[in-house]
Symmetry: C2
């Protein structure tokens, strides 16, 4: 069946009503500017679900900076071509007005899970993420939704939302896709110039240093973090926003590593903010 | 079919899975201590839905005072007998741990709609209401849910939540049931002693004075409110918490009455807090 592109809530509900009942519906929620990381999410959905829906919506509610929202890439034609090639059934690409006909008065609020890392540096960001994800779940009513592990705190928050609000959707995490030099794929990578692009893999390298330190038995989080951050080249174009070791479920920082932790970091490379994370497991 | 009483989320989902697909499921969410007002809700559900679910859960998240939570009546046997008599199919009566296995970190947040009236006097109350209602919707996945008009601000908030979060549930309002002297039925009425019970109908009387003033063309909200509050007997057992004219959808106070408004009030009668409201329509 050819790809069906729908713009309104009524259209997407109608187009899925026919398919509901004939097996699971898988949703890949995206903000567009699709890359190989999204393709991996879609591939997972395609392998598991008779019906695959991709949503493409640059959610204004989750942007803390107006210029970031304005400059976020929106290459819809290329996105649709990729979805078609990957065998997506339905793309839901609503206009902002379809999702927010008026400013929402009832929203989703995230507590401690959003307290640190990106949540600390991007006020309101995760409330906006949680709100739009819940709306998309309520609009599309998928059985499964696929989220990339690259956005680890987002994934933890969506899982917590599903648990705390009893949302009847299974959350399927999908491993991060990386360039050969380790840089995690991101729609923001296209903002990097050549020199910045050469610096960017330092983020993943630092995190692997944290992973190796934890694996070798270093349990003092401060030591791990210092060792990891110390590997970043001193370059005026690089600014480390945070590098933290957190509990994989609660996303609270740990002082001592006594089980698996997530090493997560945000690095400004010029005017581009990159995030990445690596699961770190101490020796048995 | 006999009434089925279930205690866990798995049980209620399983017991409804068989019935889903054979017509609509109607939910009447309650905190128990059922009275003729709840019976009216159940009757409406019974008339419209092949499957009627009543939830009975005293939601700790919506109580701002611990003593109020502790003293809230919980006559479960009588409640189940009433449900059986009214032909309810499933009663979902979970323990607090089933709904909140841990303190929720992701909750529902209500903005301006909860800013005045009960929202102003009961901090966090409506966030707790919205959170548990959304959880019950996600657990039970009803097609329709029935709410009493007596809790007018709650009804407005649930409607706003359904709109803002695209919740696929139809909200059906049901008119307030009153004693012959006008007192709105409430589980809290049983806390009134004889003298307090005699004073309690003053609340509804005051609201009907507001309604009559608006109907007669008084457009200045201050005048309407003063006239209504002025009818309350001066008695040390009575304390008017608020009496306000608000927009029926946004629940923002109005200064001039230029269309239908809700006159809403909360009155303490001794140690019991009663609320009521009346829709007021100006002359055409």
């Amino acid at each position: 069946m050819p790809l069906r592109v729908v713009r309104t809530i009524d259209e997407v509900r109608t187009s899925l009503a026919e398919r509901r009942g004939s097996g699971t519906i898988g949703l890949v929620p995206t903000m567009g500017a699709l890359h190989a990381g999204h393709a991996r999410l879609i591939d997972h959905a395609r392998a598991e679900c008779p019906t695959v829906v991709v949503s493409i919506f640059v959610n204004p509610l989750q942007f803390d900076r107006a210029d970031d929202l304005a400059h976020y890439p929106r290459p819809l034609d290329a996105d649709l071509a990729l979805c078609e090639r990957l065998g997506v059934d339905v793309v839901f690409a609503p206009a902002p007005d379809a999702i927010y006909p008026e400013p929402p008065d009832v929203t989703v609020h995230v507590g401690a899970t959003a307290q640190y890392l990106c949540g600390a540096f991007r006020p309101g960001h995760f409330n906006g993420v949680a709100t739009v994800v819940l709306k998309l779940f309520d609009i599309i009513q998928p059985d499964v939704a696929y989220f990339g592990e690259k956005d680890a705190q987002q994934l933890a928050i969506v899982r917590r939302m599903v648990a705390d609000l009893n949302v009847p959707v299974r959350i399927a995490p999908v491993p991060t896709v990386r360039e050969t030099d380790g840089l995690a794929l991101s729609s923001r990578n296209q903002h990097l110039n050549e020199a910045e692009r050469a610096l960017a893999p330092g983020l993943f390298r630092a995190l692997t240093v944290a992973r190796d330190a934890v694996a070798s038995g270093v349990a003092d989080a401060e030591v791990v973090k210092r060792r990891a951050a110390g590997t970043l080249p001193s370059d005026e174009r690089l600014r480390l926003e945070y590098l933290e070791l957190v509990d994989p479920r609660t996303f609270q920082p740990v002082q001592r590593v006594e089980g698996p932790v997530v090493a997560a970091a945000a690095l400004w490379v010029g005017k581009t903010r990159l995030i990445d994370n690596v699961l770190c497991t101490p020796p048995a």
